[in-house]
Symmetry: C2
Subunit: 164 residues, 2 copies
């Protein structure tokens, strides 16, 4: 099944927040996100990778305007969980490649990652679904990243400007 | 916009592979996935979280049958990149909550995570898209996880059996 990339989407005005060194035991993910949900903050990406030594890091993205409130909530959670630290970056953007037949992500992803590497753009986070590969980059590289990925997949010049 | 969860999907027979302690610099993600793509291995999830001290961990999932080949490829990559270690688990499963209006993931995610915590099921990885929240759990907890999430969202008894 040849993956068909149909477009490139992007989201600007986002911020990421990471709570690092949380216990990797049942219940912790809910303890982190429940207060964020109760505060009515809109969350976009949620990323957690496999942990080591019983700990892991947990990251989510919010709208830039909600960054300070989210940071405050996480500081409280950090104390409750005894996590190592809370950090964040309020100048990030998300770039996504969208397409059908993406189940064989590896080839499509490698091509996307190559295009970003050629422009010396560092990939800060990666998250995928069956039809989409999303990366987080520094916001200052957003236009460069969208153009580089567009041309890698020969999608023509017009970067998709809708928020996904 | 009230998030509407329409279903629970799951994928069994998967394996996860992690290459830990890779340099967090442009080009590394492509160096990891290109050989996997060239080998024709089907990759499902790709997850990378924000790094620390110039390093990060990179995880992807493959079909269980491809686990050994993927491990072999990663061992070569580890040497080239000077990564800390390669590890894996060939007994994992993915459980996903699917729905529209998921942009406010926090509430839906917290409910999903709560349902898993109540069954003492540990969440090993998390990845989201606009319409989906996916978690990786130990395969032995798959049925328990699908049932717990189904009832948390009052979706009735019949777990979705299609692979997503
Ligand atoms: C870190 C967090 O995801 C934890 N493993 C949990 O299940 O809640
Ligand atoms: C780790 C890897 O994602 C690296 N940051 C890259 O851009 O390729």
């Amino acid at each position: 099944e040849q993956p068909i990339v149909s477009g490139v989407a992007h989201t600007r005005d986002e911020a990421k927040l990471t709570i690092a060194g949380v216990p990797d035991v049942p219940g912790v993910a809910s303890k982190i996100l429940s207060p964020v949900g109760h505060a009515g903050l809109e969350v976009d990406m949620i990323v957690q990778n496999t942990g080591a030594d019983g700990l892991t890091d947990f990251t989510f993205t919010v709208k830039r305007d909600d960054y300070d409130r989210a940071l405050g909530i996480l500081d409280n959670v950090r104390e409750t969980l005894g996590a190592r630290e809370v950090s964040g970056d309020n100048r990030i953007a998300k770039v996504s490649v969208v397409g059908v037949g993406m189940r064989s992500h590896a080839g499509v992803a490698a091509k996307m990652f190559d295009a970003l590497a050629a422009e010396n753009i560092n990939i800060q986070m990666i998250s995928t679904s069956e039809i989409k590969i999303s990366v987080v980059v520094a916001e200052r590289y957003l236009e460069l990243a969208v153009r580089a990925v567009h041309s890698a997949f020969e999608l023509g010049e017009a970067p998709v400007d809708k928020d996904d």
